[in-house]
């Protein structure tokens, strides 16, 4: 079971809690996690990565196990602790405001 923590706006959009849990068959990567997340919550399509390029949206980051995974390849394996469900993958919005 993979755990994913969503930012507040996406929780509201998906009508879910802070953390969602996903079943993933095969390698646990950014791509496979986001594929599963969007399959469960279709309204999130396009909000985390671009429809066409599948690139991460610029003001979002992926953190896991106290490390920034944002710039890793989408098919790179995420940490074992994420794959085992011990740690969540954090989807974090950039801080902004006035």
């Amino acid at each position: 079971m993979i755990r994913v923590v969503l930012p507040a706006h996406l929780r509201n959009l998906a009508k879910t809690g802070e953390e969602v849990q996903l079943e993933i068959a095969g390698p646990v990567t950014q791509r496979s996690v986001l594929d599963a997340l969007e399959a469960r919550y279709p309204m999130l399509r396009g909000t985390i990565r671009d429809h066409l390029t599948q690139q991460r949206r610029p003001f979002l980051r992926f953190f896991a196990c106290e490390e920034d995974w944002s710039h890793e390849e989408p098919d790179a394996l995420l940490p074992e602790a994420v794959a085992k469900g011990e740690e969540p993958l954090l989807i974090v919005g950039a801080i902004a405001g006035g």
Binding site: N12, E38, R45, H51, L60
Partner: protein
């Protein structure tokens, strides 16, 4: 008794204001989509309970919301169900058509520095539901292009003849981005559509969107190298009274204009306006020669002259304007009124509405003679539309 439903898009959510035909007492609902920019909401003329909303965010991109119950509940229209791979269609997927079959090999427009820049989708500025089918809706987007959905916003297809008709490489963004902000469907000629783009100008199709032509003759813009160029004009908004669809009124960056021949030729009608800079313009529902604007001081000072918020009305189709001030701030008012933030209802005594960047929404239930603030303290208002309910 009939009533009205005012759809207000703001920097931090959508609000729905309802009243009976007197338009004195109001019910305020919202915020819907709290925290998100709602650029525009508009209801279907065929089914007023069908409302489309453009929900955008610098973080999360574009979303499309749809209501089937007059704004009580909302849904993101579903495209393909549970795709095993990345979806081919989605309600927030706006892809420029560059196919050989239907699109054009056009991939760039003019950038701020004069170089060519690829088209990049940013957001939906305006939804225009079809006059005949509740599931058909047009979307004007940034970077400027026109999209259409025929399945209730589940999926979108560009009408590429506009972006590809030839002048596209000369279009350039204004300060607010290169946005297609105005879409007007001709009730008399179903194949005729008008659109306007900042900063390119106004365009018209007479064949349902296959082919387009610029309709900017008569416009004069001293801020572009050739002030009378075919394209490059910063048109802020265009309005039409459906009873006379060949007559158009335009608020340009500077200048208020009119056309009596479907945009083929424009004439300046600024007349005695204290300043002819502004963003909004609209036409009385029952008097096709009665026009409303909100003069703004200048392109560098986006607020009313002397801190006095004023609507100006012409009952002669332009040139002769009267100041409307009863009920509007007399001093210390430094708000703006953005291009899609004025609307008129269809009640016997036509109501006029506008919203400000200061979060006020004003109504005049008597065609502009008197004004009242429905609300004072919403987030900055991006758009105002009104539905007349029976």
């Amino acid at each position: 008794m009939s009533g009205v439903r005012v759809l207000v898009g703001t920097r931090k959510g959508a609000f729905i204001l309802t009243s009976d035909g007197k338009r004195e007492k109001w019910n305020i609902e919202g915020p819907h989509f709290a925290g998100w920019e709602i650029y525009h909401l508009k209801g279907s003329p065929v089914d007023p309970n069908r409302i489309y909303a453009s929900q955008t965010s610098g973080w999360f991109g574009q979303l499309v919301q749809r209501s089937n119950d007059g704004g009580k509940t909302w849904e993101v229209p579903s495209g393909e169900e549970a795709p095993p791979t990345f979806p081919a269609r989605a309600s927030n997927k706006f892809v420029y058509d560059e196919s050989k079959e239907t699109g054009k090999p056009l991939t760039t427009h003019q950038w701020y520095d004069g170089t060519q820049h690829p088209w990049e989708f940013k957001r939906v500025w305006h939804f225009e539901p079809s006059l005949h089918d509740a599931d058909t809706v047009y979307a004007g987007v940034e970077d400027a292009a026109l999209f259409r959905s025929t399945d209730g916003a589940k999926s979108w297809h560009e009408l590429p003849g506009l972006r590809g008709h030839g002048t596209g490489p000369d279009w350039q963004p204004g300060a607010g981005g290169m946005c297609l902000h105005t879409i007007i469907l001709d009730p008399a000629k179903p194949e005729r559509i008008y659109i306007a783009i900042s900063a390119a100008g106004a365009f018209r199709t007479d064949d349902g969107g296959k082919t387009w032509k610029p309709i900017n003759k008569g416009l004069y813009s001293k801020y572009i190298p050739d002030p009378t160029a075919e394209v490059g004009h910063c048109v802020h908004h265009v309005a039409m009274n459906p009873r006379r669809p060949d007559v158009l009124f335009m608020q340009k960056h500077w200048d208020v204009m009119r056309s009596d021949n479907a945009g083929d030729q424009w004439t300046k009608i600024s007349g005695n306006l204290p300043t002819d800079f502004g963003f909004v313009i609209d036409v009385h529902a029952h008097e096709p020669e009665t026009v409303y604007v909100v003069p703004i001081k200048s392109d560098s000072e986006h607020f009313p002259l002397d801190g006095k918020l004023r609507v100006y009305r012409s009952k002669s189709g332009g040139n002769e304007w009267e100041e409307l001030k009863k009920g509007l701030p007399e001093r210390d008012c430094y708000v703006n009124v953005l291009r899609d933030a004025m609307a008129v209802d269809q009640l016997d005594e036509c109501g006029v509405y506008f919203g400000t960047t200061g979060g006020q929404v004003y109504v005049s239930p008597d065609g502009g003679d008197t004004w009242n603030a429905i609300v004072h303290d919403l987030p900055g208002v991006l758009s105002v539309e009104v539905q007349t309910l029976s």
